[in-house]
């Protein structure tokens, strides 16, 4: 078990945003966390990332120290080259070599010395992905990482992420509001509503997954139903 949460709650000015979350993730498990905005999914991710010490709360959170966060914005430092952004905080002697390899993995070989602002939105997010993976994290926390990308770029990012996850095998928590994104990538989908997990669904479809597959469709309907979306047949 790489992630262990027991009775985690968080509150903002008296309102409970996380209300007694208990979860366990197996090593290498790819978990998608779906919910509407305001359901508390980002709060849960930030709690697991240890980025919420100014927030009221309690509970047990055991996560690996070796974890990476992939934000919705690429969050590249504009004053550092792409390579230096990727190796930020990496203190191994082969940091540069690993940074170059990570950039090659995400298809950005040759852009090492570019300024982040010279990259397209999709390229920036790929550089951010390289920055997350170069640390070989045991846990990758991704907070709607493709939310700001156009539909085509997003599909390419899904393929890239899946391919890289197959190779690196970290445990992944992917926060998303996109049910299909969850179904294409994850082994398990959690649906969150008002600070609680209301559905915990295993997705044991073979890869590559097709949206036209009957089981894909029935899982999608099930998740949308949990999210309170009325499906008209």
């Amino acid at each position: 078990m790489t992630v262990h949460l027991r009775d985690v709650w968080r509150g903002f000015s008296g309102r409970r945003v996380l209300d007694g979350i208990s979860l366990d993730f197996d090593p290498g498990e790819f978990v998608a966390l779906i919910g509407r905005s305001g359901s508390g999914k980002s709060t849960l991710l930030r709690a697991m990332a240890g980025l919420d010490d100014d927030v009221e709360g309690d509970g047990t959170i055991i996560v690996p120290d070796n974890r990476s966060v992939l934000f919705q914005d690429s969050r590249l430092l504009p004053w550092d080259t792409v390579l230096h952004n990727v190796t930020l905080g990496l203190r191994t002697p082969d940091a540069e070599q690993r940074g170059r390899a990570a950039l090659a993995d995400v298809g950005l070989a040759g852009r090492e010395d570019a300024w982040p602002n010279a990259l397209s939105g999709g390229e920036q997010q790929r550089a951010a992905l390289a920055r997350s993976l170069v640390r070989q994290p045991a846990l990758l926390l991704a907070d709607e990482p493709f939310g700001a990308l156009d539909a085509l770029t997003r599909i390419r990012m899904h393929e890239l992420l899946f391919r890289l996850m197959e190779r690196h095998r970290p445990t992944v928590l992917l926060v998303t509001h996109d049910v299909e994104e969850a179904l294409v990538l994850a082994d398990r989908a959690l649906v969150m509503e008002q600070g609680a997990i209301i559905l915990d669904q295993t997705i044991d479809l073979p890869h590559p997954r097709r949206k036209s597959d009957g089981r894909f469709e029935s899982l999608r309907d099930q998740l949308l139903d949990a999210l309170g979306v009325v499906i008209h047949a």
Binding site: L51, S68, R75, L77, L88, G89, N117, A118, R131, R135
Partner: protein, 254 residues
Amino acid sequence: MPRGLPPGGILLGPATLIFVWQVASMTGFLSPKILAAPSTAAITAFDMLRSGVLINHLLASAERAYLGLGIGVVLGVVFALIAGLSRAGEAAVDGIVQIKRAIPTLALIPLGILWLGIGDAMKVALIAISVFIPVYINTHAGLRGIDLRYVELARTVGLGPADFLRRIAIPGALPGFFTGLRLAVTTCWTSLVVLEQINTTNGIGYLMNRARDYGQTDIMVVGLAVYAILGLVSDTVVRLLERRALSYRKVLGA
């Protein structure tokens, strides 16, 4: 907004001014007792350059100005970092600086003389103080303006305090620092004009004061021209440094 000027277009105004001034002097409209003709001033400048007088005064002034500038910039940056990176530092430093900001540096001359005498130590100290303020204010504002998302990023990648300073705080505050530095390079000369009226036997300020005693308007014009050139050159140098250090900004919006 007017369109950008063609290269050298900005010189049209000054050139016209000098031309009108020269004509006014030659026609006797402008007496040399009021203001020397540009041509007279140019000849005086040439003579002073050839005899080495101008260079000696210039070096004396530059030494005071740039020593004060150097000390003021270093102190401004150090205190901005102290105030910008810790709450205790902010509490200790920022209030005092804001009060000092309200007091004109030249109003400190009497105290400066009392403490440091009328020599160069007092002059350099007051220049340093006058330079300290814009450097501190703008660098501090730059630090405070650093996106908190980068601070969060620093935590997620486990950046230590030294690396945080080097990779995020300093580069993030650099645009503010350069704004302060550009103000500072002009401020150091401005303060000098007044300070060189006190017990000096060299420097551009001294030169102009003595010229006043003898009614030598040509030397006064030379002094003013020297200040103008120094100010413009300093500003250009800082701009070049800024453009190199902030070259990543050129691709904004690319």
